[in-house]
Symmetry: C2
Subunit: 507 residues, 2 copies
């Protein structure tokens, strides 16, 4: 199994069908394969050989998609860089991965002077933007145009395909090593579930491609042989225009993006009836949001995904049919065809159905480990099971209910408090727009439950009112002992609240 | 990826659903998993460890299905034995594979005395039949009942899952080594194509399970989490009864089996409307047969598969929609999601679209090699491509037209004659029931085209008439120089004519 295989297959089946749409640039599968062969030849001429790392620091584009294919074609390894990170964090990941080449676009070219200084291992810089190629950079189109095509290395199986840095919410960034088998297994398993994009559809990319949340959609769509429409940033008006213009059939979103789309004033001006499926993840969807989404997208089926970078994106799906049950709607769905999910206690033993423990996952998509981090790898991978760090339980039909991040669990007065449960209680107050619950050190209780709350505009709810509201819903000891108000919460690229950052700032 | 994973998943999702139906025996997924854990414990107690081979010589049954799961669960390797072979051929494959244990049913128990003598490596014999357990055999149910369950070894990836002997039509039997990744990739890729069995359906097994033709269906159905109904032999009346009784939704057949079902006098007495999909392979279907089949199975979609043991069963599918085109109906369809197909010349170089050459296949399902046969392995596997030994061409949309077996191609007077083309011409004569065309040594022509013809009952067509008929359809030099008549043709377990046998008997 190798990532480029699906490209060859599409070229054989429908060479003249459209593979990528990026602004006004439209390219067929035959075009893209030809360009990828040339680009891979260019990478080879830059001295890249087996297993060398190529970093990509850019917003979504058709060239990003080509790079994801040209890198393995040249027998190299891709390192998609988190575009939300600071230069220092990016430099850390480039040095840690030993990236030899970096590809940047217009937005990130200004960062090059710092990166070149901080990352002595960088041998070459490629500019894949649309503006003027900066000094010292190789122009992407020039490289494609001037380089002789090379045959596809067609390496696959357990060979490394990419290093994906993660860790926005916990600790230092770690490079997740995903093999060709990991990525292709995810794509085949997702397609086998029949819950997502059909063959030949058009997928719109609005979330950043460096993150598995979007890259998983790209990966499945690649195997299904469909069209990718690439937008550089998340902008609701542009999304609505693009859906209508290109007859988009599939979208990958997080619930907060769905909410933003639904809240847009011009929503009803656009024809969204082409959308057949929306794959969303990162968190569960509320019944009211789903109902509104189903009204706005009349012909769309919704699938929830639960996964993480270490799982090449996926472990479970809540399929469209399963969205009909309000109890199941609170779950993350069930293991997909290539996956086994098990809940274990702190000693690693499986717990009975219904009991809470750490979510562990096994299957062909489980990462090989963290790049150069044998200790973290050994902690996360035990006997082939990935320990996700999530706390959850399974019901008697295998539906997974994720209760909390293990690291976000608060131990107060000897009792486990799941921050997500407290957050749900707080969020149900009509005056609350968003909230995060963290544990802060406390001399009496070990940790105390602390809430950071963003109020709805114009609302003046007080801390005591929130504590009282929570007290009517869950046990008193779980209610926040302290409440503070903020204008917004810090979030990661995947839309997750950065609790570590909140906690660090308050200790 | 590991073969037993899908069993664990089904137990988690629907423990009380029916997994196997065999005569009056009905077992749920939870039952089967429990029995498999005990059976694996029994195998372990017999001294079987990592990679040891367990041979199964039996007709289809629920116990056969359990053995396919218990063997990897115990970290051993399964060797499904060809039930059509002579004791000498079976003994050869047992010795070649070094099988330590053999499992037999009532039908094959009488062969044990020979096998025990010829195969000194056999340490134990298990009887999985329904009759009285023969002397010297361990009773299957007794072993399940008395052995403590063991945890699933959960070995997977490139570890060997089974050795599948092949070679009925050409040369000495060779053991095809299939890994867990090979088998699970086939199942995921087939499911991802959406052309076969849906989740939760009921698959009827009527072809022998030792052969990938049926085992592939078992494998896909395992991943889809559906029910298996197992029939020991192919009997049309029983098939019709079973379809009606159990509401069978899927069948795996070869076209000759479809023909036999359609020809059955009591066909119209049965309700076959539950059948949703038929997967057939081994040869293309004629338009007239397909039309009759679609009348008899009104709610059924037909999918053709092309594959072989070395490909864990599959390389291409002709999907139901593609059956609508009469030109494509003569093709084997297109590469499935995990597969790349390429036509090469004798030097291994890819030929242009439309040109004929050897069919080669690449993907996660390609075997690791032939057991203990480095030379044959090197000849079949070159740079990761399996050389199928089939001659074919691709059209400009990637549809594969298999022209002939490379070994069945006749070189007469310096010209390539594809036996399949001549057979199609002969078969179009109304007096011909079946035929096989082979090359026989000839002093003048190198090889001469020879036809073995089975006439329709009561028809007295002569050799010259057949030669004349063929001459009106294809070039004269392709017409058989000699024609003989026979009562029947020797066929393999997969329904393929044994041309080697025909040829050897005439040289």
């Amino acid at each position: 199994m190798y990532l480029t295989q699906a490209l060859h297959r599409s070229v054989q089946h429908h060479p003249d069908a459209v593979m990528t749409i990026c602004g006004e640039r439209v390219r067929t599968f035959a075009d893209v394969a030809d360009r990828v062969a040339h680009l891979a030849g260019g990478l080879r001429e830059l001295g890249l050989g087996r297993g060398d790392r190529v970093a990509v620091l850019a917003l979504n584009s058709d060239r990003y998609s080509e790079l994801l294919l040209a890198t393995p074609w040249a027998d190299a390894v891709v390192n998609p860089v988190n575009t939300r990170w600071s230069p220092a964090e990016i430099a850390y990941s480039l040095n840690d991965s030993g990236s030899a080449v970096i590809v940047v676009d217009d937005v990130f070219a200004p960062m090059l002077s710092i990166l070149r200084k901080e990352c002595p291992g960088l041998r070459a810089t490629i500019f894949c933007g649309d503006g003027t190629t900066p000094d010292g950079c190789i122009d992407y189109e020039d490289l494609v145009g001037r380089s002789a095509p090379i045959p596809d290395a067609r390496r696959g199986g357990d060979a490394l395909a990419g290093i994906f840095y993660t860790g926005g919410t916990t600790g230092l960034p770690k490079g997740v090593m995903l093999s060709h088998t990991n990525l292709v297994t995810t794509a085949l398993g997702a397609a086998a579930s029949r819950a997502v994009f059909r063959s030949g559809g058009t997928l719109l990319h609005v979330a950043p491609m460096f993150h598995l949340a979007d890259l998983t959609g790209w990966n499945v769509q690649l195997v299904m042989g469909g069209t990718h429409v690439l937008l550089p940033t998340f902008d609701v008006e542009t999304i609505l225009q693009t859906v209508e213009r290109h007859g988009v059939t599939g979208l990958t979103l997080v619930p907060s993006m769905i909410q933003m789309i639904l809240n847009h004033s011009a929503l009803e001006d656009y024809d969204l009836s082409s959308v057949e499926s929306v794959l969303y993840g990162g968190s569960a969807i509320t019944e009211s949001l789903l109902k509104r989404a189903m009204e706005a997208f009349p012909k769309t089926s919704f699938t929830q995904a639960y996964g993480m970078t270490e799982l090449a994106g996926l472990a479970t799906f809540l399929t469209p049919e399963q969205h009909a049950d309000s109890e199941r709607l609170r779950s993350a769905g069930r293991s997909i065809p290539h996956t086994e999910v098990r809940i274990v206690d702190s000693g690693g033993a499986e717990v009975p159905v219904g009991e809470t423990g750490e979510v562990t996952v096994r299957g062909g998509q489980v990462m090989g480990g963290y790049w150069n981090r044998p200790e973290e790898t050994a902690a996360a991978l035990r006997d082939g099971w990935l320990h996700t760090g999530d706390v959850g339980r399974l019901d008697k039909e295998g539906f997974l209910f994720v209760v909390d991040r293990l690291k976000d669990m608060i131990v107060s007065g000897g009792e486990n408090v799941y921050s997500a449960e407290v957050e749900n209680a707080i969020a149900s107050h009509p005056g609350v727009a968003a909230c995060a619950v963290i544990g802060l050190p406390d001399a009496d209780w070990g940790e105390r439950v602390h809430a950071v709350v963003v109020r709805r505009p114009g609302v003046t709810v007080a801390a005591e009112e929130i504590r009282d509201h929570v007290g009517t819903l869950i046990a008193r000891y779980k209610a926040p002992r302290s409440v503070e108000f903020a204008d917004e919460l810090p979030v990661s690229a995947a839309g997750k609240v950065l609790k570590r950052q909140l906690r660090d700032a308050r200790i």
